[in-house]
């Protein structure tokens, strides 16, 4: 799968409380959650995000609560990929399970600037900052995880009998 979009960049330790504040957790509707995505650190996110845009974060992206509403809100905002230096483990798991593309690549997360055009090939792990022309290589997922992702998430993988 190939994705391309404008980078929207944030810092280290972006927690699930700022990705989707708990005061909106009285719903689990993706479109409704997207309306409030990132608003506690970036009120403008909702207006500037375009379908296909790529979110870039620092270390420990998605730390905090286990709310799956966080990757759901990001995905429903139109974000096609999150690149970070590292991810908090529950967020990492949840993203795989719901089919939000994520990739851990410290070099790319460091070098890519806000507003740059970025493309990525998720099968090969090649990330390109098209604004600067720099290319980065990310670790591909282990085969077991690849199978969950290509099935379309954990629920689909279970339905297809890939894991039982």
């Amino acid at each position: 799968m190939k994705v391309k979009g404008t980078a929207i960049k944030y810092g280290d330790n972006i927690d699930t409380d700022v990705i989707i504040p708990a005061r909106y957790l009285n719903t689990s509707e993706p479109a409704e959650l997207a309306q409030h995505c990132m608003e506690d650190i970036d009120l403008d996110f909702r207006n500037k995000v375009r379908p296909g845009d790529i979110m870039v974060g620092g270390d420990n992206f998605g730390c905090g609560s286990s709310r799956e509403h966080a990757p759901i809100a990001i995905k429903a905002s139109g974000i096609s990929l999150v690149i970070a230096k590292s991810f908090a483990r529950i967020f990492y798991r949840n993203s795989i399970n719901i089919g939000l593309a994520i990739v851990e690549c410290p070099e790319a997360a460091q070098a890519i600037e806000n507003g740059h055009t970025v493309s990525a090939d998720l099968d090969t792990g090649l990330i390109t900052d098209e604004t600067t022309g720099k290319a980065f290589r990310a670790e591909p997922f282990p085969p077991f995880i690849q199978e969950i992702i290509s099935a379309g998430g954990l629920v689909e993988a279970a339905k297809k009998g890939i894991i039982r």
């Binding site: 330790n13 927690d15 409380d17 700022v18 504040p21 708990a22 005061r23 957790l25 009285n26 719903t27 689990s28 506690d40 650190i41 270390d59 420990n60 730390c63 905090g64 609560s65 286990s66 709310r67 799956e68 509403h69 990757p71 759901i72 590292s86 908090a88 483990r89 529950i90 798991r93 949840n94 399970n97 719901i98 282990p142 077991f144 995880i145 998430g153 954990l154 629920v155 279970a158 339905k159 894991i163 039982r164």
Partner: protein, 421 residues
């Protein structure tokens, strides 16, 4: 090759003799947990899987604790979704208002989390039960759905960091100070993807409550789980309450650890985490003058009887400072009842505090004590992220029940020694 305690529990539940760090394993689960926020999403995903029944109606537990008693109509609808599902599936462990407590206080108390168990919960603080020598970890709603349907979950076997505890904690220092000290030392991603294993001769002096608090906040260092090896203290606590016989897994003496830290418990001081990360710690001696507007004593981190009692012992016979709202939340109905019977509720009310029914409420800015812009709270909860307890321009300072109680009296962040001297 030698294994850590966490690796042994995963190997046992995967039906393997041995596992290696990094290995992906599919494990049998002893319990699958969800709350009123995460379960509705899990129920939706469960339906999509086309499965009719949960794998075991006695091993799926749902606790209505976050926004219950319902804070608004949407929250009521979420609880209703859970209630209907629990009725349809005949779940024995559905905890609604009247029976419910804060999930991670309730499960150990009711004997639903037992030494040697493998438990997943769609709540990040599920790591709490490591205090009993279980492997428990937080997951999302889709993992919960898969767990409800199959009784299984996939895990990447973690490597571990070992914390060797020596000596004994001084008076007015508790498990909260220990875990805040550790997070301050290793950072909020210091244990990312890994286990935190607590050992050493100092463990014997830690109460179950202290251990529960320590493991509860393992996630705040990014850990997959925190775990204490079960000992006499654990087995005495579980006697008469555990749902089945405990199974003790001990780390091999030559198990490999990524890092080893030695901590002298006797050197710990009351510790406070400043906004907006749990790693921003200072000892009480370095706090300075920080006036406060609110104090919260409760949560899955510090809402146990010992926590409430420690706070009551400081507050009794004194008055909460003018203009400070003090909210006390015993974590389960039985803790609440004990606080009533022993007169602690009276102590709090006479001091100008309020005592709430069990709920997560203010910890995550839900209700029962949400902060306005510019307000500051000292809280015994677990997170102090931007906007965690209300407005993005409010501040949360994490501390122990003793520090929270002393701060309530003095109207600024203060240690118990200052009030009691």
């Amino acid at each position: 090759m030698a294994m850590t305690a966490s690796q042994k529990i995963l190997a046992w539940h995967a039906g393997l003799d041995h596992v290696e760090p990094g290995q992906l394993v599919l494990c049998r689960l002893d319990r699958v947990l969800g709350n009123d926020i995460t379960s509705p999403v899990a129920i939706r995903e469960f339906r999509k899987m086309g499965v009719k029944e949960v794998f075991d109606k006695d091993k799926v537990t749902m606790v209505m604790d976050h926004f219950a008693p319902n804070k608004d109509i949407k929250a009521a609808a979420q609880c209703q979704t859970c209630r209907n599902f629990a009725g349809e599936q005949d779940l024995s462990g559905f905890y609604d208002v009247g029976r419910m407590g804060i999930e991670h206080a309730l499960l150990p108390e009711q004997g639903l989390a037992v030494t040697g168990d493998l438990i997943i919960g769609a709540d990040s603080h599920t790591c709490t039960y490591g205090a009993l020598g279980a492997f428990s970890t937080g997951v999302g709603s889709t993992d919960m759905a898969f767990g409800m349907a199959t009784g299984k979950a996939w895990f990447k076997v973690p490597s571990a960091i070992r914390f060797v505890l020596r000596g004994r904690m001084p008076k007015y220092v508790s498990g909260k100070d220990l875990i805040l000290h550790i997070i301050g030392m290793i950072g909020v991603d210091g244990a990312l993807y890994r286990s935190m294993e607590f050992t050493g001769d100092g463990v014997a002096s830690l109460s179950i409550e202290d251990r529960l608090t320590v493991c509860n906040m393992a996630i705040e260092a990014g850990a997959k789980n925190g775990i204490f090896e079960a000992d006499q203290v654990t087995l005495a606590y579980e006697k008469g309450r555990a749902l089945h016989d405990p199974m003790v897994f001990r780390a091999d003496p030559d198990a490999k650890y990524d890092e080893v830290y030695e901590i002298d418990l006797g050197s710990l001081r009351p510790t406070v985490a400043f906004p907006h990360l749990p790693e921003n710690t200072r000892t009480i001696d370095q706090v300075g003058n920080v006036p406060i507007d609110q104090v919260v004593i409760g949560s899955c981190t510090n809402g146990l009887y010992k926590d409430i009692k420690e706070a009551a012992d400081i507050i009794r016979g004194r008055k909460a400072a003018k203009n400070v709202r003090v909210i006390v939340i015993p974590a389960t109905p039985s803790i609440y009842l004990r606080c009533v019977e022993e007169g602690l509720v009276k102590d709090f009310i006479q001091a100008g505090c309020i005592v709430s029914t069990p709920t997560c409420g203010p910890c995550l800015g839900g209700y029962m004590g949400v902060l306005a812009a510019g307000e500051r709270a000292v809280s015994t909860t677990n997170r102090n992220f931007v906007g965690r307890m209300g407005h993005t321009a409010s501040e949360v300072y994490l501390a122990s029940p003793a520090v929270a109680a002393a701060s309530a009296i003095l109207g600024r962040i203060a240690g118990p020694e200052e009030v009691l001297s």
